[in-house]
Amino acid sequence: MGEKMSRRPYVREVPPTTWYFRMPRYMRYMVREVTSIFIGIYTVIMLVGLMRLSEGPAQWQSFLDALKSPGSVTFQVLALLFALYNSFTWFNVAPKALPLQFGEDMAPDSVVAIGHYVVWVLLSIFILFWAGVF
């Protein structure tokens, strides 16, 4: 010892806008984040629909007609697929946030995940029933 230590740590910068190209798992994360933009836009469309409904039957009808345009249908199909992807991936990780313990042992993740799917299906049936689909 006694020699001067020459410390000069080298910092590797993380590219702030392109970091998610560095690993497939980062890309997977970003894809899931992007799906929520479509869900957000769909929510805005629903709010516009409510506004048109409050303005009277003619406005409501023109809103419904606009929904049937090819561009609109394409968007809705995409939004539905993305919403499904977002929901499935969310339900599959939900057990991480909700650990359940029965007696001594921790419940397997599948218990919480399946619980989410069951509630989802029941709620969907209830809403469709309420909306007069059946």
Partner: protein, 252 residues
């Protein structure tokens, strides 16, 4: 090696090297290393240091996935060099120091930031009920043990920090391992220090910096699942907030 049952294999190692005394920036150096297919990457590095280039610097100690010293990027993935088996890799392997940490020299990184964060979260039992030894031990049932056992498996190897893009972008983030260890003690039946730890981890630099990419859990060599710990801290902190603001008469 006289044992001919072991398959010899020539491995090309591309090692990122950095000498703070002479280099402006790190650069790759290639080595052709005679290996045995049953070796792990750490064995190859040890052979390289003993026989080909004694100047190579890297950390290791136990060679059995317990000490957490030999974390490095192996073909772009954060791995323990002692757990990365050569049989799982092609003939060319790229080895770099752990991402998101400054390079001290070659494969040795500066871990000061992680150590400071670890201290901040008080990863030890702060007894809820003060006792002296003559009053006997703190007892715990197997069920109470199982609640936190998984999070107690952390060996502080920092692979999760190298995987976490959030930590790379925002170095103030307390990060996966430190928060998981805080959670481990928070949910320990013998502990009473949660309020102190929440001051550190239920903050913007704590769990709320986490966006749940989940990379930490994918790379954890001990199956700690840090992402789960962080989401559980978020959920518990949210409940705290509602209790405090809307149901302040309820005691935690």
């Amino acid at each position: 090696m006289s044992d001919n049952r072991l398959a010899a294999r020539q491995i090309e190692l591309e090692v990122l090297r950095y000498n703070p005394e002479t280099d402006q920036e790190p650069k790759f150096q290639n080595y052709s290393v005679p290996c045995i297919n049953e070796w792990c990457v750490l064995d190859a590095l040890n052979y390289l240091k003993d026989n080909l280039d004694p100047t190579l610097a890297y950390r290791w100690s136990c060679h059995m996935q317990v000490c957490g010293s030999c974390g490095m990027m192996i073909n772009g993935e954060p791995k323990l060099a002692c757990k990365a088996m050569l049989r799982d890799y092609p003939d060319t392997i790229r080895i770099e120091p752990l991402n998101h940490f400054p390079i001290e020299r070659d494969l040795v990184t500066v871990a000061d930031d992680f150590i400071a964060k670890l201290k901040r979260v008080k990863p030890y039992i702060i007894p809820g009920e003060k006792r002296v030894p003559t009053e006997g031990e703190y007892k715990q049932t197997p069920a109470q043990l199982k609640r936190y056992r998984q999070f107690a498996m952390c060996i502080n190897c920092m692979l999760c920090y190298a995987a976490c893009p959030e930590y790379g972008l925002q170095p103030k983030f307390i990060g996966p391992a430190a928060i998981s260890l805080a959670h481990r003690y928070n949910i320990d039946s013998r502990d009473g220090g949660r309020d102190e730890r929440q001051e550190e981890i239920a903050t913007d630099e704590g769990v709320w910096e986490c966006t749940f990419v989940g990379a930490c859990s994918e790379v954890c060599p001990k199956h700690v699942d840090p992402a789960a710990a962080l989401q559980q801290v978020k959920a518990a902190s949210t409940v705290d907030w509602y209790l405090e603001h809307f149901m302040s008469w309820v005691k935690k």
